[in-house]
Symmetry: C2
DNA sequence: ATAAAACCGGACCGATGGTCCGTATGATGG
DNA sequence: CCATCATACGGACCATCGGTCCGGTTTTAT
C-alpha cells in the first residue's frame, strides 16, 4: 500500500517523523493481523489490538483515524502486490492480454487473496459498512474490473456488473463457497460467472 | 410474513395470547418502519424503537429476540406478497413461464421492493451481518433464483450465481445505482446481468 | 373473586468505538 | 552533550448499543 494515501506513513521514516511512531504503527498492524488470524474478525476490538500491540488505545486512533482506517490500510498492504502485477505487462494479468484473459486472471488472484485473508476481508467489510464504495482498494479493483468489462462488452452497464462481480468476494460468500470445495471451487465458480458475463 | 416462523405471532390473536402482546408487537413493527423511513437505517437503535412504540425495551426483545429478529420479520412482512406471487401461476413470475422470463420478472419485483424499502434493506443487512445466509427471506429468494438458473443453465454453479445475482440488491449498491437513474436504471442493469448469465 | 400465567417496563450490564489531555520522548540546533 | 519544543504516548473517560433480569402489573381462566 505504500503511497496509496499520500501521507508520510509508509513504513519508512521521513524527516521529523519520530521513530516510536513508525515502530508503533508497524506493531499495531502486525498485532491486528495476528488477532485476526487467531480469533476471527468479530473478536478483534481496538482495545485488544492496542493491548496486543503494547500500545495505548489513543495511539491506534491517532495512527489510523478509526477502525475503518485500520482495516483499510491493512487490506491495502495485502493487496499491494496484486495492484502492481495488474499494471506490469507480460502476464495475463497485465496490459496487453485480451480483456477476458485479464479478468479471469484477476479474479483468480482475488480468490487467492480472499482465501489467504478471509478474516481480514470480513473485518474490512464490517468496518467499511458505511460507504464501502469509498475504500481505496475496492475502488481500484472496481475501476480495473469495470474497464475490462466495458472493453469486452460495450453494451453492458460495466460499473454495475463490476460491483456485482466483486460481490463474489464478499467474505461470507467466499467462506460459504470455500467450505465446500476450497479455493478451487471459488475460482471455478467465479470464472463461470466471468465467462457468462463476457461471452 | 404470516406463518413463516410457525409461532403464534402473526398479527392475529390466538388462544391464550394476550391482547396487549399482539398490540405491542404491531406497535413495534410500525414504529420501526417509521423510524427507518424518517432517520435512516443507521439511526434506528432498539432504545429508540421501544420509545417510539411506547413500550419498554424488554418488550422488543421478548417479541423479536434480537435486533436481527426484528428486521428479519419486518422484511418478511414486506416480502410476503412477492413470495405468494412467485407461487401463483398465471403471471411471468409464477410457474409455467420460461425460466428466463420468470427470473427477469422476479428481479424486477425485487428492484421495486428494494426501492420502496431501501432503509429496511440496509438495516436488515447490517443486522444479519453474521450468517446472512440463514435469513428465511433471503433463503427463499436464493432457492428460487438458484432453481431458475439451474433450469436455464445446467452447467453453471447455480447456487453461487444466485448469491452473486442477489448481491445486486445490496442496499448500498442499489442506492448507489439508483442515485443516478432511479429504479429504472437498477432494473435495466440487473436485467442485463440476468440476460448475460442465462443466455 | 381469585389464583395463576403471561407480560410489562426500565434499570442495569458489559463491550465497543472514539475523545481528551497531562505527561513522556525523541528530534534538532547550538 | 544539552536545552528546547514539537510530537507522540497512554489510558482514563464518555456515550451508545445490544441484550438481560426481575419486581410489579394485567389478563385470562376457573
Amino acid at each position: 500500500m505504500a503511497g496509496y494515501y499520500g501521507d508520510r506513513w509508509s513504513g519508512c521514516k521521513g524527516v521529523g517523523v519520530r521513530a516510536d511512531a513508525v515502530r508503533n504503527r508497524e506493531a499495531i498492524l502486525r498485532a491486528t493481523e495476528e488477532l485476526l488470524e487467531a480469533h476471527g474478525a468479530e473478536h478483534v476490538s481496538l482495545d485488544r489490538v492496542a493491548a496486543a500491540a503494547g500500545v495505548g488505545k489513543g495511539t491506534v486512533f491517532r495512527r489510523f483515524g478509526s477502525r475503518t482506517g485500520l482495516f483499510q490500510e491493512l487490506l491495502a498492504e495485502r493487496a499491494a502486490a496484486l495492484g502492481k502485477a495488474v499494471q506490469a505487462a507480460g502476464s495475463p494479468l497485465g496490459p496487453g492480454a485480451p480483456p477476458l484473459d485479464r479478468l479471469l486472471a484477476f479474479v483468480d488472484e482475488l480468490a487467492e487473496l480472499a482465501e489467504r485473508n478471509l478474516a481480514l476481508f470480513a473485518a474490512h467489510e464490517r468496518a467499511c459498512a458505511e460507504d464501502k464504495y469509498r475504500d481505496p482498494t475496492y475502488l481500484r479493483w472496481h475501476a480495473h474490473v469495470s474497464a475490462l468489462i466495458a472493453e469486452a462488452r460495450p453494451g453492458m452497464d460495466a460499473g454495475f456488473a463490476a460491483h456485482a462481480l466483486l460481490g463474489s468476494f464478499d467474505a461470507d460468500l467466499a467462506r460459504h463457497v470455500m467450505a465446500d470445495g476450497g479455493v478451487a471451487r471459488l475460482k471455478s465458480s467465479v470464472r463461470g460467472l466471468v465467462r457468462a458475463l463476457l461471452t
